[in-house]
Symmetry: C2
Subunit: 201 residues, 2 copies
DNA sequence: AATGGATACGATACAGTATCGTAATCACGA
DNA sequence: TCGTGATTACGATACTGTATCGTATCCATT
């Protein structure tokens, strides 16, 4: 009885799913490379080997296409599990660092922030799909550690997450680079301040 | 013999210095509100009560005007000196929080990041004028503390600066808000990890 | 006499729509 | 099995209205 099982009749020529994927892929790249307002649908159509009407048949506006493109970003990285809290934090941050340093990773963040006033749905979606996911992973690691009594009771987990994640933004804003051992250094710097028992440095 | 002492001849009608200031002020506001590519010179001219040729007589291009506008941001806040390292850090971060929450403070950061590929001079200037200044103040506070033996010897000061500053970016990216006691909480969270002697929590 | 400012202009780019001929898929009938 | 028509998607192109950057022309000011 489920319409998704007995495929409902499709009267005419079916849409090409590959075309759809190609458009979204190009749109996401241009969004990151050039920012929202510089991303033109003419360019998206040309680079994806299609045409504007084909795009508008699928998405109702530029903003609609942009959010759909953002929505295709998949969070492929599985949760890290190294056995130790420090290792899990470091591993998760290393994944973060890689995705941030992907070409135009920071530009994409800049774009959604810059468009907050004009196209707020971009930031909303970015939050729900990427920011929240990443923060949730870090938060889960810290919460587990807290339940194991590895952390001081008074530690504000959100505050720690903000510092760990934000350090990458600050570093990039200052230098456009992030060294490979940055995640390890971050964890090493913050751990003595949040760990339950302060052993020797 | 110095031309700046004996005012040099002014051949024609002198420029109005107030006009210049008004243009820059409007340009900076629109840059933050709408982003670089949406900031139109027509709007700048209209809102500053002047016209485009008047703008182009002073700055050679849109990018030139935008960088000049960025360059007018003054770092009025004096260095904080409360007598204690924790107090200085907190006070400096509170200043930071205020400037960040000024309307469109984060949008401006987003714009310079998003424009990194297309108009890199914005990010370069933003770094030199604002990022470096703020980081320098925090770094100085930490370095002074280190010389007073208040910090562990192994602490990486840059790393701490990145975490303190970055936490604001991360928080804003996640929620678009920063609570008033955020600076205090940040310092409270990181201090036990970097202080030389760990006293009771 | 030389520069200031304002209006108007040219050139270009963009979002979104319309049209045209073609290709793909289905339903139906021979 | 083969063909025919109906229906929808497709790429290509052109178009409309608007926004934009940067410049030229004109009069006012000093």
């Amino acid at each position: 009885m489920d319409a998704t099982i007995f495929t409902p009749r499709a009267p005419g020529r079916p849409r090409d799913a590959e075309t759809e994927a190609r458009i979204l892929q190009v749109a996401l790249r241009l969004l990151a490379e050039q920012g929202y307002s510089r991303m033109s649908l003419d360019a998206v159509a040309a680079e994806s080997g299609t045409s504007k009407p084909t795009i508008y048949r699928r998405w109702s506006s530029k903003a609609d296409l942009a959010t759909a493109a953002l929505n295709t970003i998949q969070f492929a990285e599985p949760p890290v599990d190294t056995g130790s809290t420090v290792g899990d934090l470091t591993g998760t941050l290393e994944n973060f660092s890689r995705s941030l340093l992907r070409p135009n990773g920071m530009s994409l963040i800049g774009t959604v922030l810059a468009e907050e006033a004009h196209t707020p749905e971009l930031l909303t979606l970015f939050r729900a799909r990427l920011v929240a996911t990443r923060r949730g992973m870090l938060h889960a690691i810290l919460l587990r550690a807290k339940k194991r009594k590895e952390l001081r009771r008074a530690v504000n987990l959100d505050c720690v997450v903000n510092m760990l994640v934000g350090a990458f933004y600050a570093r990039y804003l200052a230098t456009s680079t992030v060294p490979p051992d940055f995640p390890r250094e971050l964890v090493a710097t913050i751990w003595p301040g949040i760990a339950a028992i302060s052993k020797g440095s």
